[in-house]
Every structure is written in structure tokens, then in C-alpha cells.
């Protein structure tokens, strides 16, 4: 049906290479999320798929057909923009029906499809309003409505929720998830909100500087990040990284330590370590637990944030490194006190530098 294949896709503006060879395989009906820091090329990649940007090199196929040179209207995609991009001079009804009007659909069929879309998005009561009379969330619904009436094979979303407030964002996030289940269409969703990425995605593509860093399910990426960048990008608060010395290597077992860390053996998922070398040890804040005495790490408490459900403790280690620990449940820690922490080596990650 409408799987999407990106093969060696590249995009340059003059001498600026923005997308530097991207390969992604997207199955029919999959929900794929592109994440990455600002300026990494997420929107550009999405717009290349939509046909709004030329492809400099590589091959893009949708539903098994190479579409490099097809204009947007012949690609069978619908797109929802960050700015909503609904037409200010048309009523909501006309906006939602725009694609059908262009396609010359009959009045009766149009009315039926618009009604159906309005029902799914619960906006029947808005149909006769003008866009200027709508709230941000309602405008976004209209934009999504316009996308779904044509029943496209592929939906593209470019940060559709970033202009909404937190509560509304969560509502709409759930609704987009529901919509995906109802329609079963292929969806590509660009965001830099990791909660959206983790909750919505079947598959996450992490991008940086126009290159794919890792592709996988949310949990794969969370538990087995392929490199430092992915490890640091996903998860909140971000993963702690300690500069450590490698003292011994035995197959995939790497023994590391530093001034603040007692020697510990970590199972490496990637290669490239040698005894006497340096490495980065990654520990998620959630996997640190306080101990009464001893512990693998010792630090002085610089700041605490009590969130009720958890307590985020900001520590300074003996060698001056900053470490964040997210401790389960509410707890009180005096600032300036020493705290010993321990962690499960199986939950730690090690990366070569």
C-alpha cells in the first residue's frame, strides 16, 4: 500500500548540505516520529517527502513508486503545518472541503465527508465559523480535518502541537494517536518534544546535522542508544555522562573508574574500547539510588527539586562533575550535605570517545 522508502536522500541549498544521505524504511500504516535538535533537517526531510522541496540526490518512493519528480498533488500525501495554514478567507467548512473542491467532488459526497471528518474531530459546531473566530486548538483540528477528508495514504505532521499550551497539547496528542488507530494510515510526525515522540511512535528516527543517528522503537532507543547523542537526547532529565578511564577490557566487559567512581564493570553494546583509554559512562538519573553509607558515587547536594512524585537532586561529584539523580517519591535532602549513590551496572551505558 503506502510504505515509504528513503534511499540516500540528500538536500543542499547551494553549498549548504542540509540532508546528508538519509536511509529510512517506513512500513505501511506505521507511525514514525522524526526527532532531533533545532535545525537538524527534520522539516526539510518532511517537506522533501511532501514534494515541497526538490530532492538533490537519492530516491524517494511512496507505495513502491519513485516520486522524486512528482508534484505534491500527485503523491497522495496530506500535511499538517505548525502554523496550521488554514485559509483565512474561507469558513471552516470550506477549509475542510478544500481538497475535495479542487478534485471536483460532488456536493453531496463533499457534505458527507466533511460531516464525517467533523464528527471524528468533534468540531461539528465549528463548521460555519471563520478561522479568525477559532482558538489555536480548534484551528489545529480544522487543519487535521482538511487532511483527513481526502483519505490520503500518508499523513505528514510538522510540529503540529508546538503552538498549543501544555494541557491542550496532551489532549491533541491523545487524539492524534487515536486518529492513527482509526485511519490506519502511514503517519510521519516531526517534533522536538520527546514525550510526543515516545508516546506516539511505532518507530523513532533520531536526526542530527542532516544525518540519521538511530532508528528504532521508543524503548529500543531508550534502553539501547547507539551513540552518545541519542543517549543524551532521549529521556528527561537527560542522561548523566561521566568521563571515565578504562582500566581493563575483556570481550564486551569493560572495567571503568575515575576519581569519583569506584571501579565498576559495564557490558558495552558497542566496541572501540582499550585498556588505558578514555570512555563516557552514561547513567540515567532514574537509575541512581541513594545509599546510607558507601555507594559507588559520592557527591555534595547543590540543589533539589521536589516534584511530588519524584525528587530531582543536583549533585557535584568529588572531581567537580555535575550529576543529576531523579529519586522516586518525595524526599527531603539538605543542601550541602553529602549523598552516596549506587546504580545497577546493567542499566548503565558506555560509549567510546
Amino acid at each position: 500500500m503506502a510504505g515509504i522508502t528513503l534511499k540516500g536522500l540528500k538536500k543542499s541549498y547551494g553549498t549548504a548540505h542540509v540532508i546528508k544521505g538519509v536511509d529510512i524504511e517506513i512500513e505501511d500504516g506505521e507511525f514514525v516520529v522524526f526527532v532531533g535538535p533545532s535545525g537538524c533537517g527534520k522539516s526539510t526531510l518532511l517537506r522533501m517527502i511532501a514534494g515541497l522541496e526538490d530532492i538533490s540526490a537519492g530516491e524517494l518512493s511512496i507505495g513502491g513508486k519513485v516520486v522524486n519528480d512528482l508534484p505534491p498533488k500527485d503523491r497522495g500525501v496530506a500535511m499538517v503545518f505548525q502554523s496550521y495554514a488554514i485559509f483565512p478567507h474561507m469558513s471552516v467548512r470550506e477549509n475542510v472541503a478544500f481538497g475535495l473542491t479542487i478534485a471536483g467532488t460532488s456536493k453531496a459526497e463533499k457534505a458527507e465527508k466533511v460531516a464525517e471528518a467533523a464528527r471524528i474531530l468533534q468540531m461539528e459546531h465549528l463548521l460555519d465559523r471563520r478561522p479568525s473566530q477559532l482558538s489555536g486548538g480548534q484551528r489545529q483540528r480544522v487543519a487535521i480535518g482538511r487532511a483527513i477528508v481526502r483519505n490520503p495514504q500518508v499523513f505528514l505532521f510538522d510540529e503540529p502541537l508546538s503552538n498549543l499550551d501544555a494541557a491542550l497539547r496532551m489532549d491533541m496528542r491523545l487524539e492524534i494517536g487515536k486518529l492513527h488507530q482509526q485511519l490506519g494510515a502511514t503517519m510521519i510526525y516531526v517534533t522536538h518534544d520527546q514525550v510526543e515522540a515516545m508516546t506516539l511512535a511505532d518507530k523513532i528516527v533520531v536526526l542530527k546535522d542532516g544525518m540519521v543517528q538511530q532508528i528504532g522503537s521508543p524503548m529500543e532507543l531508550y534502553h539501547n542508544p547507539a551513540n552518545l547523542f541519542v543517549a543524551g537526547f532521549l529521556g528527561s532529565p537527560a542522561m548523566n555522562f561521566l568521563d571515565v578511564d578504562v582500566t581493563a577490557v575483556n570481550g564486551s566487559k569493560v572495567l571503568v573508574s575515575n576519581a569519583a567512581l569506584k571501579p565498576v564493570e559495564i557490558t558495552a553494546k558497542v566496541g572501540g574500547f582499550s585498556a588505558g583509554g578514555k570512555a563516557k559512562l552514561g547513567i540515567r538519573p532514574q537509575y541512581l539510588t541513594p545509599v546510607d553509607s558507601g555507594g559507588m558515587l559520592q557527591g555534595r547536594i547543590a540543589l533539589t527539586e521536589r516534584l511530588g512524585s519524584e525528587t530531582v537532586v543536583d549533585l557535584t561529584l568529588g572531581d567537580g562533575t555535575r550529576l543529576i539523580a531523579a529519586l522516586a517519591r518525595d524526599a527531603v535532602f539538605p543542601i550541602g550535605a553529602n549523598l552516596g549513590l549506587t546504580f545497577d551496572p546493567a542499566q548503565a551505558h558506555i560509549f567510546p570517545v
Binding site: 495554514a85 487543519a143 481526502r150
Partner: protein, 292 residues
């Protein structure tokens, strides 16, 4: 606090309206003088010109000047010619220039930037420099009409219309406006399956009220005030516009009263056009919410 700011606002309003009234007075002064004078005999008109009487309908007031003006020149024909030529040119110009600007602003094609540069360069060429070559050109152009193929466009409406349909300034106005429209609207329409023409007609034009009004006013003024070109290309009264018609009143005996009557008459279409555009302009801003 509230009291003070209230007073302040009242004062500000007074100042604002005073200034506006002053400006309105300055601008309407010539118009009032023209209309009032058109009702007076020439001698009284000249005598009154040195006092406030010039702006007041006092003394020997009548419509005689108007009757005399109609006797002296085919006023109705001149007004008709001007309105026809101006109207057709304005409408054709809006259509052609906005379509051209659309291609420059939204469609990517080879040589686009160069072509736009060339068009903009024409802005610095004064019409007078191309008038003679244009005249020679126009006198040789073919036309297919009721008489079959004829050569030469002189003495016609088309020779007054066609050269002014496309112009750099109008295209430039549209290009600038189009570039300020939110690009995602155009992209959304493209993804929704709209052809370039559909985008032009259904998305861009409905949002272009303000620039359409601006371009229409500028073109209207140029066309309605045409003088040099019509003199060059029309020898017969039948095709001549209002400004050329003014000559009739400066021959032999110069009757200022009649001149004022004639000017008042030919001002009517201008005012009507302004009032219409003003309404359309405000309506378009209100309905689209796109800034001007």
C-alpha cells in the same frame, strides 16, 4: 487615575480630529473652489478669486457654464472614452500583472530572477523616451476586425489600452505583497492538490484585496490623466479622452467658468471610483484578516 486618563483620552481625540479636519480642509480646498467656481460667470469668478467668496456660492449662481461646456465640446463622449479606456486597462492590468507576479513569487523556473530584474529595470525608463518608438511600432501593428486584416493601430481604443496593461510597477507591487503572504498557505494548497491556477484563483487572489486596491488606484490615476500618448495616437475626436478634451476650452476665448464646469464633470468618475474602492478595501481586510 481613571479620571486623568479619561481626560487625556478626550484631549487626544480633540487634537487628533483637529489635525484630521485641517488636512481634510487643505485637500478639499481645490475641489470646493473648482465646484463653486463652475457655478459663476467668468468675470465674477476672477473677481472672487482674491477673497473668501471664492469658496462660497454667492453672487450670480447658475448652471450656465455646464450648458456652455456641453455646447463647446462633446463632453459626454470624452468622459465615456476615458472611462472605457481606463476601466478596461485597470481590469486587464490587475489580471495580467497579478498573474505575472504570481509566477515570480511562487513558481520556480529557470531565469526567473533575471526576468524579474529586467522588468524592474523598466521602472527607470520614462515613458517619454519610448513614446516615439512605441508610436512607430503601433502605427504598423496588424489587427483583425470587421474589415478583415488592417494595418496600424492609430485612432482606436486599443492603442490607448494595450501598451499600459503590463507594467513593472504593478508587477512589483504584487510580487512584494505575495512574498509577504504566509508561504505555508500556498504549500498547504499544493499538498491538497491545487494546480497553480487554482492556487492563484482560490487562495492568493481572495487574500489580495489590499494590493488589488492599491494597484487599481495607481493605474486608474495614470490612465485617467493620460494626455501625451492620446494626442500622439488619436487624430479623431471620436477616440479622445478627457484630458485631451481640455484643449477645447483653451482655444480662442478662454472661459474659466466653463473650464471649471468641465473639470467638475470629469472629476465625478474619479470620486465614484475612490468611494467604491474604499468600501471594497475595507471589506476585504475585514473578511480576510490578512494585514495590508
Amino acid at each position: 487615575m481613571a479620571q486623568i486618563s479619561q481626560d487625556n483620552r478626550g484631549l487626544r481625540l480633540v487634537v487628533r480630529y483637529t489635525v484630521l479636519c485641517l488636512i481634510a480642509a487643505i485637500f478639499s480646498f481645490p475641489l470646493i473652489f473648482m465646484v463653486i467656481s463652475s457655478l459663476k460667470p467668468s468675470q465674477q469668478l476672477l473677481a472672487d478669486a482674491h477673497s473668501f467668496r471664492a469658496l462660497l456660492p454667492v453672487g450670480d449662481i447658475s448652471l450656465n457654464n455646464y450648458f456652455d461646456a456641453f455646447k463647446r465640446a462633446p463632453v459626454a463622449l470624452f468622459v465615456f472614452n476615458s472611462v472605457l479606456v481606463t476601466g478596461v486597462t485597470v481590469i486587464a492590468s490587475l489580471a495580467v500583472c497579478s498573474a505575472a507576479a504570481f509566477a515570480f513569487a511562487f513558481v520556480k523556473w529557470k531565469g526567473r530572477d533575471l526576468a524579474l530584474t529586467v522588468i524592474l529595470a523598466t521602472l527607470i525608463v520614462p515613458f517619454e523616451t519610448i513614446a516615439i518608438p512605441l508610436l512607430l511600432e503601433a502605427s504598423k501593428l496588424p489587427w483583425i476586425g470587421l474589415d478583415g486584416i488592417t494595418w496600424g493601430w492609430l485612432n482606436s481604443y486599443r492603442v490607448q489600452i494595450v501598451p499600459f496593461i503590463a507594467d513593472g510597477l504593478t508587477i512589483y507591487l504584487f510580487v512584494q505583497y505575495f512574498k509577504d503572504l504566509p508561504g505555508e498557505l500556498i504549500e498547504a494548497a499544493r499538498v491538497e492538490g491545487a494546480s497553480w491556477f487554482a492556487i492563484y484563483r482560490r487562495v492568493v487572489m481572495p487574500l489580495s484585496g489590499p494590493v488589488l486596491a492599491t494597484a487599481a488606484i495607481l493605474k486608474f490615476l495614470v490612465m485617467y490623466n493620460q494626455y501625451l500618448w492620446p494626442i500622439m495616437v488619436t487624430q479623431e475626436e471620436q477616440y479622445r479622452p478627457v484630458m485631451v478634451g481640455l484643449q477645447y476650452f483653451f482655444q480662442l476665448n478662454r472661459a474659466w467658468g466653463e473650464i471649471m464646469a468641465y473639470l467638475s464633470l470629469i472629476t465625478v468618475p474619479v470620486l465614484a471610483f475612490y468611494l467604491y474602492l474604499q468600501k471594497a478595501f475595507i471589506a476585504s481586510i475585514a473578511s480576510t484578516g490578512v494585514k495590508g
